[in-house]
Amino acid sequence: MRRVVITGVGAVSPHGIGTAPFWNGLLEGKSSITALTRFDPSAFESRVAGVVPEFKTTDFVPKSYRKSTKIMAHDIELAVVAADFAVRDARLITKGIADPESPLEAQLLAQGWSKPDPARVGCNIGAGLISANLDELTAAVAEVRNPDNTMNLARWGRSEDPTKPSGMDHLTPLWLLKYLPNMLSCHVSIIHDTQGPSNTITCAQASAGLAIAEAARTIQRNQADLALAGGCESKVHPMGLMRWSLLGRLNGKSNDNPGAACRPYDRDAAGAVLAEGGAVFVLEELEHARKRGATIYAELAGFGSTASASRSPIDPDPSGEAPAMAIKKAFRDAGISPDHVDLICSSGYAVPDWDRSDVNTLRIAFGQTLAKTALLPARAGIGDCGAGSQALDIAAAALAMHQQTIPPAVNCPHPVANLPINQQKKTGSLQHALVISVALGGQNSAIVLRRAT
């Protein structure tokens, strides 16, 4: 069977733009959660967030594509930037990196970069519900405001004075395209000219793992040699804050101490933190990677996915059974047993009943061997990036395998249930890592990474 490895990592996170600041942030054991300033959140209980530092998307796309950045919601921008880092990291020359037959292309080829066949490159990027820019939308809606603050739908459709624009005319013609979830994959596929199988998985925090698994299967089946896969999302938006506040999911007690707000598996865990970010990876068939001398971070050794089918779409599976089954499937797929796992990255929302469910999951999947592994809740210093969450977990695990180093956990001095939290930076022999993500909505995605040999 064709084997699939990771040969490029592109992360965009509250720790910074790019993979290096992400990894350094983890190694330093720092929290990048800060007071939320993108908009005034004073109406809400929780006013902290994991925000990606500002960047210019135009710096990450070819000149010819700069105009298109105007129709990118923030989620799309994150994916475009992450993909740029991943492709460069993998030393691939796509249309997004150098124009065909340009001096730059020749230069990169001379430096050992490779130029893939576009038909053999797929793209599969997980995405979430993208909220419209409220300033843009409301400015248009306000043009047809009734005295009682309702919207005049009749004038929205057509102006009473035919020489004047209707309400909807105040929106740019391409307005809808800014917010379609598949636009993450679409822009990335256009920029890098990936013409192979392409998909957009929208399963909240399980999206990235499911997208990576699906893309890897297309490579295993020989429908592609390479794929750009991962997930990105921004929840740092008034709509995101409103929805999660209504859900009662956020920590509203740490506004004075944002860095300590997200405390996965800690006895003082008090809720999740809204965040944004994600990662895109270059997945590649092993021989293809070897032949071109690519850096191999880790092998994607096994996948498992299940649904919790709880009694409500917003509650976890208290037994932890369904996510544990996803882990067992991934172990079986990878041909390993729990005692082979040296590192676990799990969801760790810092929402107490979700954390308890995680504990049960890990107990079922690992039994006695749980104590012998190291658990890294990688989101503690970042927050919950929705569809980008598991991508960052996988980036953390892949980098840990490659560097043979487990970063220290953040904000978990008093782990519940004696969980084997990795408190100190640890180096040593890492052969396998497990990444398990449990989504709001009940989708569970498990991935086993194996050290590249």
Partner: protein
């Protein structure tokens, strides 16, 4: 060896009706489900009509579990209705199944926005002359007015969340949202999951409802919709020289996919077999298809290769056929590139002419149409076809259903952003 995948159940909730046989009869009769929009007052909109689902009752569709789903979005409610039909047809109501062997893979999109409260809150927090929303004022009103579940149900994973609850389906669970190609892709990828042995049964298809003010606004601004407000029934004119855009529809289609082995073991009635699946990206523009139909050609070719079939084996093509200028000529050109000299001999039709465009759900109802065409030897027509277009010069089965032996049918779906997916389905034989 990969496993063979068959279809053992199917169901739909569409603008032409709420059960398989009614909708099928109406498609064959060339009837239209397109009429002035009633979900909201669209009288002044550039497009004031759509293809709405009429008379759907969730309580009737799901029965005793109604309370679990009452807050679900419109799309999810349709999906539950379609899935119940499919589950029952597949004879799974009393089957003893390992929950972890039953998965879900949907291409489900929007379920509707809380338009009233959303616009009230934003307008109340928008000072005249302001350039930005007062998020403090907005937050206070939004927290008071918005309903938790209505908001959360808008997440695109909620359709599968409800399906997994309803059927205790704990196997692989995914939703993809690749615009108008979503449910074709969902069924294709669900097939791959069974082929690979990761599930015995997949509940798969699509569900969507964008018939709300901002949904119609989005498509109207793109000038993608027909504006033939005086004659909604004839507004969608796929492949006709005077076509002027698509008609927004809503609904859901669900099929039960099953490994042949599993279906035979439990003595299930096999409706058809999934023969092949192909997927590609145009990688061209977010607004337009590649003018040569580059990606469409790849998807169709890959599906044929996957099915181990040749162009001569295809008896019917259910076209994407949206009724936009661009899609229909590009799709025609793509078919001609793949089918060459015999392109003119393959009957092609678009049921969007009657049912409208169900967006993410379109591919699922079109695959079901292919299965019914195989079952009854009847090809539904392309309605409203009057004036030939020199760029669209194939056999579109104009206006009248046609009796024909159909053993193998192909269904195409192409989405905004250059997503292309093709499924091939065939009559089951051992």
């Amino acid at each position: 060896m990969r496993k063979r995948v068959v279809i053992t159940g199917m169901g739909w909730v569409t603008p032409l009706g709420l059960d398989i046989e009614t909708v099928w009869r109406r498609l064959i009769a060339g009837e239209s489900g397109i009429a002035p929009t009633t979900i909201f007052d669209a009288r002044t909109f550039p497009t004031s009509f759509s293809a709405e689902v009429k008379g759907f009752d969730l309580r009737q569709a799901v029965g005793s579990t109604y309370e679990l789903h009452r807050d679900a979005g419109r799309n999810t409610q349709f999906a539950l209705g379609a899935a119940h039909q499919a589950w029952k047809m597949a004879g799974l109501e009393d089957a003893k199944l390992d929950p972890y062997s039953v998965g879900t893979y949907m291409g489900a999109g929007d379920g509707g926005l809380d338009f009233e409260n959303f616009t009230r809150a934003t307008l109340a927090a928008w000072a005249p002359g302001a350039h930005a929303l007062d998020t403090v004022a907005w937050g206070k009103i939004a927290l008071e007015k918005m309903h938790t579940m209505t908001e959360i149900e808008q997440e695109p994973s909620m359709t599968i969340a409800h399906l997994t609850m309803e059927f205790n389906a704990r196997g692989p669970s995914l939703n993809c949202l690749t615009a108008c190609a979503a449910s074709t892709q969902a069924i294709g990828e669900a097939t791959e999951i069974i082929r690979h042995g990761d599930a015995d049964i997949m509940i798969s298809g699509g569900a969507h409802s964008m018939i709300h003010p901002f949904g119609v606004t989005g498509f109207n601004r793109l000038t993608a919709l027909s504006t033939l407000n005086d004659n909604p029934r004839q507004a969608c004119r796929p492949f006709d020289a005077n076509r002027g855009g698509f008609v927004l529809g809503e609904g859901a289609g669900v099929v039960i996919l099953e490994s042949l082995e599993h279906a035979q073991k439990r003595g299930a009635t096999i409706l058809a077999e999934i023969a092949g699946y192909g997927s590609s990206a145009d990688a061209y523009r977010v607004t337009d298809q590649h003018p040569d139909g580059r990606g469409a050609v790849v998807a169709i070719t890959e599906a044929l290769k996957d099915a181990n079939l040749t162009i001569r084996d295809i008896h019917y093509i259910n076209a994407h056929g949206t009724g936009t200028k661009e899609n229909d000529s590009t799709e025609t050109y793509a078919i001609k590139q793949v089918f060459g000299d015999i392109a003119k001999n393959v009957p092609i039709s678009s049921i969007k002419s009657m049912m409208g465009h169900l967006i993410a759900a379109a591919g699922s109802v079109e695959l079901i149409t292919c299965i019914l065409a195989i079952r009854d030897g009847m090809i539904p027509p392309t309605a409203n076809y009057a004036t030939p277009d020199p760029e669209c010069d194939l056999d579109y089965v104009p206006n009248k259903a046609r009796a024909a032996k159909v053993d193998i049918a192909m269904s195409n779906s192409f989405g905004f952003g250059g997503q292309n997916d093709t499924l091939i389905v065939k009559r089951f034989a051992e």
